[in-house]
Amino acid sequence: MRQLLRLTALAGAGLLLAACDRSHQGQARQGQAPTAHAPAASSTLAHAAAANTRFVPPPLSAIPDTPFGKEVALGHRIFTETGTYASAYVGNRLSCENCHIDAGRLANAAPMWAAYPAFPAYRSKNGHVNTFGERMQGCFRFSMNGKAPPLGSPVLVALESYAYWMSQGAPEGASLPGRGYPKLPKPAMAPDYARGEQVFKSHCALCHGADGQGQQVAGRTVFPPLWGPHSFNWGAGMHKVNTAAGFIKANMPLGRGNTLTDQDAWDVAYFMDAHERPQDPRFNGSIPATRAKYHHSAQSLYGTVVNGKLLGQGTSAH
Protein backbone atom coordinates (compact mmCIF):
# COMPACT_ATOMS: atom_id res chain seq x y z
CA MET A 1 0.00 0.00 0.00
CA ARG A 2 2.81 2.35 0.93
CA GLN A 3 4.47 1.64 -2.42
CA LEU A 4 1.23 2.23 -4.27
CA LEU A 5 0.72 5.53 -2.51
CA ARG A 6 4.24 6.53 -3.34
CA LEU A 7 3.79 5.73 -7.02
CA THR A 8 0.56 7.65 -7.05
CA ALA A 9 2.27 10.60 -5.45
CA LEU A 10 5.09 10.50 -7.98
CA ALA A 11 2.67 10.27 -10.88
CA GLY A 12 0.80 13.26 -9.50
CA ALA A 13 4.09 15.02 -8.95
CA GLY A 14 5.03 14.45 -12.57
CA LEU A 15 1.95 16.30 -13.71
CA LEU A 16 3.04 19.21 -11.60
CA LEU A 17 6.46 19.46 -13.23
CA ALA A 18 5.37 22.29 -15.47
CA ALA A 19 4.01 24.18 -12.51
CA CYS A 20 7.25 23.82 -10.59
CA ASP A 21 7.40 26.45 -7.88
CA ARG A 22 8.72 29.76 -9.11
CA SER A 23 10.77 30.47 -6.04
CA HIS A 24 12.57 27.20 -6.62
CA GLN A 25 13.43 28.23 -10.13
CA GLY A 26 14.39 31.64 -8.88
CA GLN A 27 16.91 30.13 -6.54
CA ALA A 28 18.29 28.03 -9.34
CA ARG A 29 18.67 31.16 -11.44
CA GLN A 30 20.71 32.71 -8.68
CA GLY A 31 23.16 29.89 -9.09
CA GLN A 32 22.07 28.12 -5.95
CA ALA A 33 21.69 24.42 -5.70
CA PRO A 34 18.07 23.36 -5.49
CA THR A 35 16.88 22.47 -2.04
CA ALA A 36 16.77 18.79 -2.90
CA HIS A 37 19.46 16.74 -1.24
CA ALA A 38 18.84 13.60 -3.25
CA PRO A 39 22.00 11.89 -4.47
CA ALA A 40 23.26 13.85 -7.45
CA ALA A 41 24.31 10.74 -9.37
CA SER A 42 20.80 9.36 -9.43
CA SER A 43 19.22 9.56 -12.83
CA THR A 44 16.13 7.43 -12.58
CA LEU A 45 12.86 8.95 -13.60
CA ALA A 46 11.58 8.66 -10.08
CA HIS A 47 14.48 10.59 -8.68
CA ALA A 48 14.29 13.18 -11.41
CA ALA A 49 10.66 13.72 -10.59
CA ALA A 50 11.40 13.81 -6.87
CA ALA A 51 14.17 16.34 -7.36
CA ASN A 52 11.98 18.78 -9.23
CA THR A 53 8.63 18.56 -7.56
CA ARG A 54 7.15 19.03 -4.17
CA PHE A 55 5.34 16.44 -2.21
CA VAL A 56 1.80 17.64 -1.62
CA PRO A 57 0.37 16.67 1.76
CA PRO A 58 -3.29 15.69 2.03
CA PRO A 59 -5.74 18.46 2.93
CA LEU A 60 -6.84 18.80 6.53
CA SER A 61 -10.34 17.85 5.42
CA ALA A 62 -8.96 14.38 4.67
CA ILE A 63 -8.21 13.64 8.32
CA PRO A 64 -10.21 10.46 8.93
CA ASP A 65 -13.01 10.26 11.48
CA THR A 66 -11.34 7.45 13.40
CA PRO A 67 -9.49 7.17 16.71
CA PHE A 68 -6.29 7.75 14.74
CA GLY A 69 -7.83 10.75 12.98
CA LYS A 70 -8.78 12.26 16.33
CA GLU A 71 -5.13 12.02 17.36
CA VAL A 72 -4.09 13.67 14.09
CA ALA A 73 -6.58 16.48 14.65
CA LEU A 74 -5.29 16.98 18.18
CA GLY A 75 -1.77 17.15 16.79
CA HIS A 76 -2.90 19.86 14.38
CA ARG A 77 -4.42 21.85 17.23
CA ILE A 78 -1.24 21.53 19.30
CA PHE A 79 0.77 22.58 16.28
CA THR A 80 -1.23 25.75 15.69
CA GLU A 81 -2.01 26.71 19.30
CA THR A 82 0.88 25.20 21.15
CA GLY A 83 0.65 27.41 24.21
CA THR A 84 -2.98 26.38 24.69
CA TYR A 85 -2.84 22.66 23.98
CA ALA A 86 0.67 21.87 25.27
CA SER A 87 0.97 24.61 27.88
CA ALA A 88 2.98 22.49 30.32
CA TYR A 89 5.84 22.34 27.83
CA VAL A 90 5.82 25.87 26.42
CA GLY A 91 7.81 28.70 27.97
CA ASN A 92 7.24 31.48 25.46
CA ARG A 93 4.63 33.01 23.16
CA LEU A 94 5.40 30.97 20.07
CA SER A 95 3.57 28.16 18.34
CA CYS A 96 5.01 25.44 16.11
CA GLU A 97 3.39 27.10 13.10
CA ASN A 98 5.32 30.34 13.58
CA CYS A 99 8.36 28.67 12.02
CA HIS A 100 6.59 25.76 10.27
CA ILE A 101 4.16 27.81 8.19
CA ASP A 102 0.75 26.54 7.09
CA ALA A 103 0.64 24.29 10.14
CA GLY A 104 3.76 22.45 9.01
CA ARG A 105 2.64 21.97 5.43
CA LEU A 106 4.55 24.63 3.48
CA ALA A 107 7.64 23.71 1.48
CA ASN A 108 10.75 25.70 2.46
CA ALA A 109 9.18 26.40 5.85
CA ALA A 110 10.42 23.19 7.47
CA PRO A 111 7.37 21.07 6.55
CA MET A 112 6.49 18.07 8.68
CA TRP A 113 5.94 15.85 5.63
CA ALA A 114 9.63 16.19 4.87
CA ALA A 115 10.83 15.96 8.47
CA TYR A 116 8.91 12.86 9.53
CA PRO A 117 10.32 10.45 6.91
CA ALA A 118 13.88 11.67 7.63
CA PHE A 119 14.05 10.14 11.11
CA PRO A 120 15.63 8.34 12.92
CA ALA A 121 18.77 10.25 11.99
CA TYR A 122 22.13 11.21 13.43
CA ARG A 123 22.30 14.81 14.62
CA SER A 124 25.57 16.57 15.27
CA LYS A 125 23.72 18.86 17.69
CA ASN A 126 23.61 16.10 20.28
CA GLY A 127 25.94 13.54 18.76
CA HIS A 128 23.63 10.55 18.47
CA VAL A 129 20.82 9.07 16.44
CA ASN A 130 17.56 10.82 17.25
CA THR A 131 14.08 9.46 16.80
CA PHE A 132 11.44 11.84 15.50
CA GLY A 133 10.11 12.06 19.05
CA GLU A 134 13.47 13.16 20.39
CA ARG A 135 13.75 15.68 17.57
CA MET A 136 10.45 17.22 18.63
CA GLN A 137 11.62 17.27 22.25
CA GLY A 138 14.39 19.55 21.04
CA CYS A 139 11.83 21.94 19.55
CA PHE A 140 10.08 22.27 22.90
CA ARG A 141 13.30 22.69 24.85
CA PHE A 142 14.85 25.30 22.57
CA SER A 143 12.43 26.89 20.10
CA MET A 144 9.56 26.88 22.58
CA ASN A 145 11.91 27.69 25.49
CA GLY A 146 10.03 25.11 27.51
CA LYS A 147 10.34 21.54 28.70
CA ALA A 148 10.65 18.39 26.65
CA PRO A 149 7.43 16.34 26.78
CA PRO A 150 8.35 12.77 27.73
CA LEU A 151 8.57 10.29 24.87
CA GLY A 152 5.20 8.62 24.53
CA SER A 153 3.40 11.49 26.26
CA PRO A 154 0.05 12.52 24.77
CA VAL A 155 1.49 15.72 23.29
CA LEU A 156 4.25 13.94 21.39
CA VAL A 157 1.97 11.08 20.30
CA ALA A 158 -0.50 13.59 18.85
CA LEU A 159 2.19 15.62 17.09
CA GLU A 160 3.83 12.49 15.73
CA SER A 161 0.46 11.24 14.49
CA TYR A 162 -0.10 14.55 12.73
CA ALA A 163 3.34 14.48 11.07
CA TYR A 164 3.01 10.82 10.11
CA TRP A 165 -0.46 11.35 8.63
CA MET A 166 0.75 14.33 6.65
CA SER A 167 3.74 12.48 5.22
CA GLN A 168 1.89 9.37 4.07
CA GLY A 169 2.98 8.68 0.54
CA ALA A 170 6.21 10.65 0.82
CA PRO A 171 9.39 8.68 0.13
CA GLU A 172 11.09 7.51 3.30
CA GLY A 173 14.72 8.20 4.02
CA ALA A 174 15.07 10.69 1.16
CA SER A 175 15.62 14.36 1.78
CA LEU A 176 12.64 15.83 0.00
CA PRO A 177 12.68 19.07 -1.98
CA GLY A 178 11.31 21.79 0.24
CA ARG A 179 12.65 20.26 3.45
CA GLY A 180 13.86 22.69 6.10
CA TYR A 181 14.65 26.19 4.91
CA PRO A 182 16.53 27.10 1.73
CA LYS A 183 20.27 27.45 2.10
CA LEU A 184 21.19 30.89 0.86
CA PRO A 185 24.46 31.52 -0.95
CA LYS A 186 26.99 33.49 1.04
CA PRO A 187 26.13 37.19 0.95
CA ALA A 188 28.24 39.61 -1.08
CA MET A 189 28.81 41.69 2.06
CA ALA A 190 29.16 40.27 5.56
CA PRO A 191 25.81 40.53 7.38
CA ASP A 192 25.54 43.87 9.11
CA TYR A 193 23.56 45.08 12.12
CA ALA A 194 22.91 48.62 10.89
CA ARG A 195 21.77 47.51 7.45
CA GLY A 196 19.67 44.80 9.08
CA GLU A 197 18.04 47.36 11.33
CA GLN A 198 16.96 49.35 8.28
CA VAL A 199 15.47 46.24 6.66
CA PHE A 200 13.70 45.46 9.92
CA LYS A 201 12.20 48.92 10.18
CA SER A 202 10.97 48.96 6.61
CA HIS A 203 9.79 45.35 6.21
CA CYS A 204 9.26 43.70 9.61
CA ALA A 205 8.29 46.24 12.25
CA LEU A 206 4.81 46.70 10.77
CA CYS A 207 3.84 43.28 12.12
CA HIS A 208 6.50 42.36 14.69
CA GLY A 209 6.57 45.83 16.23
CA ALA A 210 9.40 48.35 16.39
CA ASP A 211 10.62 46.52 19.49
CA GLY A 212 10.43 43.09 17.86
CA GLN A 213 8.06 41.82 20.52
CA GLY A 214 5.28 40.87 18.13
CA GLN A 215 1.60 41.47 18.76
CA GLN A 216 -0.97 39.55 20.74
CA VAL A 217 -4.74 39.84 20.70
CA ALA A 218 -6.94 38.40 23.42
CA GLY A 219 -4.02 36.39 24.76
CA ARG A 220 -3.23 34.87 21.39
CA THR A 221 -0.05 35.57 19.51
CA VAL A 222 -0.76 36.92 16.04
CA PHE A 223 2.76 38.12 15.26
CA PRO A 224 5.47 36.27 17.19
CA PRO A 225 8.14 37.99 19.29
CA LEU A 226 11.53 37.73 17.58
CA TRP A 227 13.77 38.20 20.61
CA GLY A 228 13.48 38.93 24.30
CA PRO A 229 12.02 36.80 27.10
CA HIS A 230 9.00 35.54 25.11
CA SER A 231 10.89 34.32 22.05
CA PHE A 232 13.01 31.24 21.26
CA ASN A 233 16.13 30.70 23.32
CA TRP A 234 19.81 30.66 22.46
CA GLY A 235 19.72 26.93 21.77
CA ALA A 236 17.10 27.12 19.00
CA GLY A 237 18.08 26.57 15.39
CA MET A 238 16.63 29.95 14.44
CA HIS A 239 19.30 31.70 16.51
CA LYS A 240 21.80 30.76 13.81
CA VAL A 241 22.07 33.54 11.24
CA ASN A 242 22.14 31.26 8.18
CA THR A 243 19.05 29.34 9.32
CA ALA A 244 17.14 32.55 10.00
CA ALA A 245 18.27 34.07 6.70
CA GLY A 246 16.93 31.08 4.76
CA PHE A 247 13.63 31.16 6.61
CA ILE A 248 13.23 34.91 6.15
CA LYS A 249 14.15 34.87 2.47
CA ALA A 250 11.63 32.15 1.64
CA ASN A 251 8.80 33.22 3.92
CA MET A 252 8.89 36.85 5.01
CA PRO A 253 7.06 39.18 4.93
CA LEU A 254 4.27 36.66 5.36
CA GLY A 255 2.67 35.93 2.01
CA ARG A 256 5.46 37.81 0.20
CA GLY A 257 8.27 35.30 0.44
CA ASN A 258 11.22 35.66 -1.93
CA THR A 259 10.73 39.40 -2.32
CA LEU A 260 13.67 40.44 -0.10
CA THR A 261 17.11 40.30 -1.66
CA ASP A 262 19.48 37.66 -0.30
CA GLN A 263 21.59 40.45 1.21
CA ASP A 264 18.57 41.94 2.99
CA ALA A 265 17.63 38.51 4.33
CA TRP A 266 21.15 37.96 5.70
CA ASP A 267 21.32 41.43 7.20
CA VAL A 268 17.95 41.30 8.92
CA ALA A 269 18.60 37.76 10.16
CA TYR A 270 21.83 39.02 11.71
CA PHE A 271 19.97 41.95 13.27
CA MET A 272 17.33 39.66 14.78
CA ASP A 273 19.88 37.18 16.08
CA ALA A 274 22.05 39.94 17.56
CA HIS A 275 19.41 40.57 20.23
CA GLU A 276 19.28 39.04 23.67
CA ARG A 277 16.95 36.11 24.29
CA PRO A 278 16.44 33.40 26.93
CA GLN A 279 19.55 31.54 27.98
CA ASP A 280 20.53 28.28 26.33
CA PRO A 281 19.22 25.56 28.68
CA ARG A 282 22.58 23.80 28.22
CA PHE A 283 24.35 26.81 29.77
CA ASN A 284 27.17 25.49 31.91
CA GLY A 285 27.86 28.59 34.00
CA SER A 286 30.22 30.31 31.60
CA ILE A 287 29.31 32.08 28.37
CA PRO A 288 32.70 31.42 26.72
CA ALA A 289 32.62 27.76 27.76
CA THR A 290 29.02 27.36 26.58
CA ARG A 291 29.94 28.97 23.29
CA ALA A 292 32.94 26.70 22.91
CA LYS A 293 30.85 23.61 23.55
CA TYR A 294 27.58 24.38 21.80
CA HIS A 295 27.99 27.48 19.63
CA HIS A 296 31.32 26.99 17.95
CA SER A 297 30.04 28.38 14.66
CA ALA A 298 30.39 31.62 12.74
CA GLN A 299 26.58 31.53 12.39
CA SER A 300 26.00 31.86 16.14
CA LEU A 301 26.37 35.24 17.81
CA TYR A 302 26.16 33.64 21.26
CA GLY A 303 29.11 34.77 23.36
CA THR A 304 30.15 37.42 20.87
CA VAL A 305 30.08 41.17 21.31
CA VAL A 306 27.76 43.08 18.97
CA ASN A 307 27.30 46.84 19.31
CA GLY A 308 29.32 46.74 22.50
CA LYS A 309 27.06 44.15 24.13
CA LEU A 310 28.08 40.64 25.07
CA LEU A 311 25.37 38.32 23.78
CA GLY A 312 24.35 35.14 25.56
CA GLN A 313 23.53 36.61 28.94
CA GLY A 314 19.93 35.45 28.64
CA THR A 315 16.69 37.10 29.60
CA SER A 316 14.49 36.08 32.46
CA ALA A 317 10.87 35.36 31.67
CA HIS A 318 8.32 37.12 33.80
Binding site: A103, C207, V217, V222, L254, G257
Partner: protein, 222 residues
Protein backbone atom coordinates in the same frame (compact mmCIF):
# COMPACT_ATOMS: atom_id res chain seq x y z
CA UNK B 1 -29.66 71.75 44.79
CA UNK B 2 -32.59 74.18 44.60
CA UNK B 3 -34.18 75.32 41.36
CA UNK B 4 -32.44 78.71 40.92
CA UNK B 5 -29.04 77.19 41.64
CA UNK B 6 -29.74 74.39 39.21
CA UNK B 7 -30.70 76.90 36.54
CA UNK B 8 -27.57 78.93 37.17
CA UNK B 9 -25.46 75.80 36.97
CA UNK B 10 -27.08 74.74 33.75
CA UNK B 11 -26.64 78.18 32.20
CA UNK B 12 -23.01 78.26 33.25
CA UNK B 13 -22.39 74.85 31.78
CA UNK B 14 -24.05 75.83 28.51
CA UNK B 15 -21.91 78.97 28.27
CA UNK B 16 -18.74 77.02 28.91
CA UNK B 17 -19.71 74.40 26.39
CA UNK B 18 -20.48 76.94 23.70
CA UNK B 19 -17.27 78.83 24.42
CA UNK B 20 -15.29 75.63 24.09
CA UNK B 21 -17.10 74.76 20.91
CA UNK B 22 -16.23 78.16 19.50
CA UNK B 23 -12.51 77.83 20.07
CA UNK B 24 -11.89 74.13 19.72
CA UNK B 25 -14.30 72.07 17.63
CA UNK B 26 -14.62 68.56 18.93
CA UNK B 27 -14.92 65.35 16.96
CA UNK B 28 -18.54 64.86 17.87
CA UNK B 29 -19.60 68.23 16.46
CA UNK B 30 -17.65 67.81 13.22
CA UNK B 31 -19.18 64.37 12.84
CA UNK B 32 -22.64 65.84 13.38
CA UNK B 33 -22.36 69.24 11.71
CA UNK B 34 -19.29 69.27 9.50
CA UNK B 35 -16.29 71.52 10.12
CA UNK B 36 -17.87 74.83 9.10
CA UNK B 37 -15.53 75.12 6.12
CA UNK B 38 -17.42 73.12 3.60
CA UNK B 39 -16.88 69.60 4.86
CA UNK B 40 -20.11 67.68 5.15
CA UNK B 41 -20.98 65.91 8.39
CA UNK B 42 -19.35 62.48 8.60
CA UNK B 43 -22.58 61.18 10.12
CA UNK B 44 -24.40 61.68 6.83
CA UNK B 45 -22.78 58.50 5.56
CA UNK B 46 -21.16 56.88 8.58
CA UNK B 47 -24.10 57.48 10.96
CA UNK B 48 -24.02 59.35 14.23
CA UNK B 49 -22.73 56.31 16.10
CA UNK B 50 -20.06 55.53 13.48
CA UNK B 51 -21.79 52.34 12.42
CA UNK B 52 -21.65 53.20 8.72
CA UNK B 53 -24.30 52.00 6.30
CA UNK B 54 -23.54 48.41 5.51
CA UNK B 55 -25.80 48.01 2.50
CA UNK B 56 -24.40 51.12 0.81
CA UNK B 57 -20.81 50.05 1.49
CA UNK B 58 -20.08 52.97 3.83
CA UNK B 59 -17.77 51.38 6.38
CA UNK B 60 -18.11 51.26 10.12
CA UNK B 61 -15.58 53.61 11.71
CA UNK B 62 -16.46 53.17 15.38
CA UNK B 63 -13.73 51.37 17.28
CA UNK B 64 -11.24 51.19 14.43
CA UNK B 65 -7.61 51.94 15.32
CA UNK B 66 -6.90 55.69 15.39
CA UNK B 67 -3.63 55.28 13.52
CA UNK B 68 -5.35 53.33 10.75
CA UNK B 69 -8.15 55.91 10.44
CA UNK B 70 -5.67 58.78 10.35
CA UNK B 71 -3.61 57.09 7.65
CA UNK B 72 -6.72 56.60 5.52
CA UNK B 73 -7.78 60.24 5.94
CA UNK B 74 -4.27 61.44 5.14
CA UNK B 75 -4.14 59.14 2.12
CA UNK B 76 -7.52 60.36 0.86
CA UNK B 77 -6.27 63.93 1.27
CA UNK B 78 -3.03 63.28 -0.61
CA UNK B 79 -4.63 61.12 -3.27
CA UNK B 80 -2.72 58.02 -2.20
CA UNK B 81 -6.15 56.45 -1.66
CA UNK B 82 -8.73 57.42 -4.23
CA UNK B 83 -12.43 57.83 -3.52
CA UNK B 84 -14.67 60.48 -5.08
CA UNK B 85 -16.62 61.02 -1.87
CA UNK B 86 -13.83 60.91 0.66
CA UNK B 87 -11.21 62.89 -1.23
CA UNK B 88 -12.94 66.31 -0.86
CA UNK B 89 -13.90 65.49 2.73
CA UNK B 90 -10.39 64.57 3.79
CA UNK B 91 -8.72 67.43 1.98
CA UNK B 92 -11.27 69.85 3.44
CA UNK B 93 -10.24 68.85 6.93
CA UNK B 94 -7.08 70.36 8.37
CA UNK B 95 -4.38 67.90 9.48
CA UNK B 96 -5.40 68.64 13.07
CA UNK B 97 -9.05 67.94 12.25
CA UNK B 98 -8.13 64.66 10.59
CA UNK B 99 -6.32 63.63 13.74
CA UNK B 100 -9.28 64.75 15.82
CA UNK B 101 -11.71 62.67 13.76
CA UNK B 102 -9.48 59.58 13.77
CA UNK B 103 -9.22 59.78 17.55
CA UNK B 104 -12.93 60.45 17.90
CA UNK B 105 -14.10 57.44 15.89
CA UNK B 106 -11.51 55.12 17.40
CA UNK B 107 -12.96 55.71 20.85
CA UNK B 108 -16.62 55.20 19.91
CA UNK B 109 -18.09 51.92 21.15
CA UNK B 110 -18.73 49.31 18.49
CA UNK B 111 -22.45 49.48 17.69
CA UNK B 112 -24.60 46.41 17.39
CA UNK B 113 -25.38 45.52 13.78
CA UNK B 114 -28.50 47.28 12.48
CA UNK B 115 -29.68 44.20 10.62
CA UNK B 116 -28.89 40.50 10.96
CA UNK B 117 -26.21 39.29 8.58
CA UNK B 118 -27.37 37.73 5.35
CA UNK B 119 -27.53 33.94 5.63
CA UNK B 120 -24.71 32.08 3.90
CA UNK B 121 -24.92 28.75 2.14
CA UNK B 122 -22.89 25.95 3.65
CA UNK B 123 -20.30 25.85 0.87
CA UNK B 124 -19.56 29.59 1.07
CA UNK B 125 -19.36 29.41 4.83
CA UNK B 126 -16.91 26.52 4.70
CA UNK B 127 -14.83 28.34 2.09
CA UNK B 128 -14.74 31.50 4.19
CA UNK B 129 -13.80 29.63 7.34
CA UNK B 130 -10.96 27.87 5.54
CA UNK B 131 -9.61 31.07 4.01
CA UNK B 132 -9.90 33.03 7.24
CA UNK B 133 -8.26 30.45 9.50
CA UNK B 134 -5.98 28.44 7.19
CA UNK B 135 -5.50 30.47 4.03
CA UNK B 136 -4.57 28.69 0.84
CA UNK B 137 -0.86 28.21 1.10
CA UNK B 138 -0.73 26.03 -1.99
CA UNK B 139 -1.16 29.39 -3.74
CA UNK B 140 0.92 31.28 -1.19
CA UNK B 141 -2.16 32.80 0.43
CA UNK B 142 -1.94 33.38 4.21
CA UNK B 143 -5.04 33.10 6.37
CA UNK B 144 -6.83 36.42 6.99
CA UNK B 145 -6.54 35.77 10.73
CA UNK B 146 -2.75 35.68 10.50
CA UNK B 147 -2.78 39.48 10.27
CA UNK B 148 -6.30 40.56 11.24
CA UNK B 149 -6.39 38.34 14.31
CA UNK B 150 -8.64 35.48 15.37
CA UNK B 151 -12.19 36.10 14.17
CA UNK B 152 -11.00 39.25 12.38
CA UNK B 153 -10.98 41.35 15.56
CA UNK B 154 -8.13 43.48 14.23
CA UNK B 155 -4.52 43.74 15.38
CA UNK B 156 -2.70 46.87 16.45
CA UNK B 157 -2.46 50.02 14.39
CA UNK B 158 -2.20 48.58 10.90
CA UNK B 159 -4.59 45.64 10.66
CA UNK B 160 -8.16 46.88 11.06
CA UNK B 161 -11.00 44.72 12.33
CA UNK B 162 -13.00 42.88 9.70
CA UNK B 163 -15.57 41.41 12.06
CA UNK B 164 -18.89 43.20 11.75
CA UNK B 165 -17.67 45.38 8.90
CA UNK B 166 -19.93 45.98 5.90
CA UNK B 167 -19.75 43.03 3.49
CA UNK B 168 -20.16 45.41 0.55
CA UNK B 169 -17.28 47.52 1.81
CA UNK B 170 -14.95 44.54 2.36
CA UNK B 171 -15.73 43.17 -1.08
CA UNK B 172 -15.24 46.57 -2.72
CA UNK B 173 -11.83 46.97 -1.11
CA UNK B 174 -10.66 43.47 -2.06
CA UNK B 175 -11.69 44.10 -5.67
CA UNK B 176 -10.00 47.50 -5.57
CA UNK B 177 -6.71 46.00 -4.40
CA UNK B 178 -7.04 43.28 -6.98
CA UNK B 179 -7.53 45.82 -9.77
CA UNK B 180 -4.91 48.21 -8.43
CA UNK B 181 -7.38 51.03 -7.82
CA UNK B 182 -6.53 50.90 -4.12
CA UNK B 183 -2.83 50.70 -3.39
CA UNK B 184 -2.14 52.36 -0.05
CA UNK B 185 -1.55 49.07 1.80
CA UNK B 186 1.74 48.83 3.67
CA UNK B 187 4.26 46.47 2.04
CA UNK B 188 1.64 45.63 -0.63
CA UNK B 189 0.31 43.00 1.73
CA UNK B 190 -3.30 43.39 0.62
CA UNK B 191 -2.48 43.68 -3.05
CA UNK B 192 -0.64 40.38 -2.75
CA UNK B 193 -3.40 38.49 -1.01
CA UNK B 194 -6.22 40.02 -3.08
CA UNK B 195 -4.48 38.92 -6.27
CA UNK B 196 -4.82 35.32 -5.06
CA UNK B 197 -8.57 35.48 -4.48
CA UNK B 198 -11.30 34.86 -7.02
CA UNK B 199 -14.79 36.37 -7.06
CA UNK B 200 -16.29 33.48 -5.09
CA UNK B 201 -13.56 33.78 -2.43
CA UNK B 202 -14.21 37.49 -2.06
CA UNK B 203 -17.96 37.06 -1.82
CA UNK B 204 -17.59 34.35 0.83
CA UNK B 205 -14.99 36.17 2.95
CA UNK B 206 -16.88 39.46 2.86
CA UNK B 207 -20.19 37.94 3.91
CA UNK B 208 -18.56 35.80 6.58
CA UNK B 209 -16.61 38.60 8.27
CA UNK B 210 -19.65 40.86 8.15
CA UNK B 211 -21.49 38.18 10.14
CA UNK B 212 -18.80 37.82 12.82
CA UNK B 213 -19.35 39.54 16.15
CA UNK B 214 -17.39 42.77 16.42
CA UNK B 215 -15.92 43.16 19.86
CA UNK B 216 -14.19 46.50 19.52
CA UNK B 217 -10.74 47.29 18.29
CA UNK B 218 -8.20 44.54 18.70
CA UNK B 219 -6.13 45.83 21.54
CA UNK B 220 -2.67 44.57 20.80
CA UNK B 221 -0.46 44.01 23.77
CA UNK B 222 3.24 43.31 23.77
Amino acid sequence: MNAPRLLAFAAGWALTASALAGTQPDGASIARLGNGHGVAPCAACHNANGSGQAAAGFPRLAGLPAAYLLKQLDDFASGARRNATMQPVASGLSPAERKLMADYYSTLPVPAPAAPAAPMDAASKALAETLSTQGRWSKGLPACSQCHGPGGVGVGDHFPPLAGQSAVYIANQLHAWQHGTRHNDPLHLMKTVASKLDAADIAAISAWYASQPATGKGGASP
